[in-house]
Amino acid sequence: MSSGIFTEWFLPGVWITIQVTLYSAALAAVVAFGVGIARTHRLWIVRFVAGTYFEIFRGTSALVFMLWMAFAFPLMFGWQFVPMAAGVLALGLTYGAYGSEIVRGALQAVTAAQREAGIALSFTRGQRLRRIELPQAWPEMIPPFNNLLIELLKGTALVSVISVADMTFAGNLSRLATSESAPAYTLLLVCYFVIAFALTRGMRALERKAKAGLGQTPKKGPLSGLLSRKLNPEGEMSQARAGTAGGQG
């Protein structure tokens, strides 16, 4: 890749890719929690509306939706998004729909016993959700969210077709301008991998922190201790039992 394209297009493109990933992930997270919680609501109409959203966005192509946002929407409504906004909206709404399935599943995996304990203490439904169910479901959501985030990162390459100058756009430009396809695309693959790897490490740290918040000892990993707190380093159960015996004396 010639140095002009590299510094003028590729390096800014990396930053654009990271930006699109972060903005879409933020939007997807909001949609995932909103729709996911709505899909466990006690009123059928709320579940129905949220379920319809999920089915529609799961069943349509993110690429086609992005093209629709960029090219059909302006024709229909006489108003257009800047290309990056169209890309972020399409990715965020689509991946948010997938994410809602993760939120719903994790909430439903919180045991009935926890719900009953919340009822027995007269918490309202909202309080139970916020103080009991979501905090317990959260650690279970992180590994599938990590998968989805990686999918989203790779999905951001789609924005290059609506002329957002991300790093894939720069790679294509390099092929067209200099016919150096091999180094350009190889570099792209490596870049996506490096960003994905960094995201995975971050999510692992988040997961360990979340598990520690449930009193579970985090698993050891290369970066363990980065964000996680160390809990009860000695054999916790034997210690606890010794405590019980003492307490009953």
């Binding site: 016993a113 203490l121 007269s122 317990q136 019980t244 307490g247 009953q248």
Partner: protein, 274 residues
């Protein structure tokens, strides 16, 4: 654990209850079915304030269902339940009895606390917050008041040194004692105990029962207890109710029920488990 408390500890478990002796809980013609299975059959019984009542009977006879109905985890198919003069699952609107709204149910059930077989502590909260969460966010106590109450109760159940641990870092017996403190922190008038030692290793049972004995003897809280620990039932109960097929077939003070039961089915049941 010794049974003589300082006054403040005694106060911690003291419910704001009525004069002892008045009727606190009443089941009127309560029927509960699961599909075709009639679990409670036109049940009629009442419990006076301050009494400790143990429900015994074979499994499937409806004992736990009674506790779950009182905690509003289930609703009766027929009949009404009143607690301290208020309908539990119904409310009066325009002179008619209609199924209660969420708000009414929440108010009435503040008078009732429950300890579960599997403890059901919140794993995402440390011991202290497990106990203070509901007093702060449901009863509206200040954080300081709630923590003060929690510390007194933890002393009562002998777990002061574990205040800063997560439930998963405690043994089953310790978790159950925290669960007892958590229920008492709401100052309920009625404490429901649903086979609270059944999930514990045998060596941990005594500690939990000791705590409950202390509470039973040192407070005037009303207790409804489902248990297979007959020694414990004999110690704390004012009345024992024998259930069979969704009905109370015999009731009386523990001495009579355990030594000289009248009903054939009670004799059979007791000889099978004692």
């Amino acid at each position: 654990m010794s049974s003589d408390f300082t006054p403040s500890q005694k106060d911690a478990a003291q419910p704001e209850s009525r004069a002892a002796g008045s009727e606190l809980i009443r089941f009127d013609n309560v029927t509960k079915r699961f599909g075709d299975n009639v679990v409670l059959d036109d049940l009629e019984f009442s419990v006076s304030a301050g009494k400790h009542v143990t429900l015994i009977g074979p499994s499937g006879s409806g004992k736990t269902t009674i506790l779950r109905l009182l905690m509003t985890l289930l609703t009766p198919d027929e009949g009404t339940i009143t607690v301290d003069g208020d309908y539990l699952t119904h409310e009066e609107r325009g002179g008619k009895l209609v199924p209660a709204g969420e708000k009414h149910v929440r108010e009435v059930r503040k008078k009732i606390g429950m300890v579960f077989q599997q403890f059901n502590l919140f794993p995402n909260m440390k011991v202290l917050r497990n106990i203070t969460e509901a007093p702060v966010h449901v009863l509206g106590l200040s954080k300081d008041e709630a923590e003060q109450r929690a510390r007194e109760l933890l002393e009562l159940v002998g777990l002061t040194e574990h205040i800063d641990k997560y439930p998963l870092q405690l043994s089953g017996g310790q978790q159950q004692r925290v669960a007892i403190a958590r229920a008492l922190a709401m100052r309920p008038q009625v404490l429901l105990l649903d086979e609270v030692t059944s999930a514990l290793d045998p060596e941990l049972v005594a500690g939990v029962l000791d705590v409950l004995r202390d509470i039973a003897h040192s407070t005037d809280i009303t207790m409804l207890c489902v248990t297979h620990e007959m020694g414990f039932a004999r110690d704390i109960s004012d009345d024992v109710l024998m259930f069979n097929e969704g009905k109370v077939i015999e009731s009386g003070p523990p001495e009579k029920m355990f030594n000289d039961p009248e009903h054939e089915r009670t004799r059979e049941f007791l000889s099978a488990i004692l």
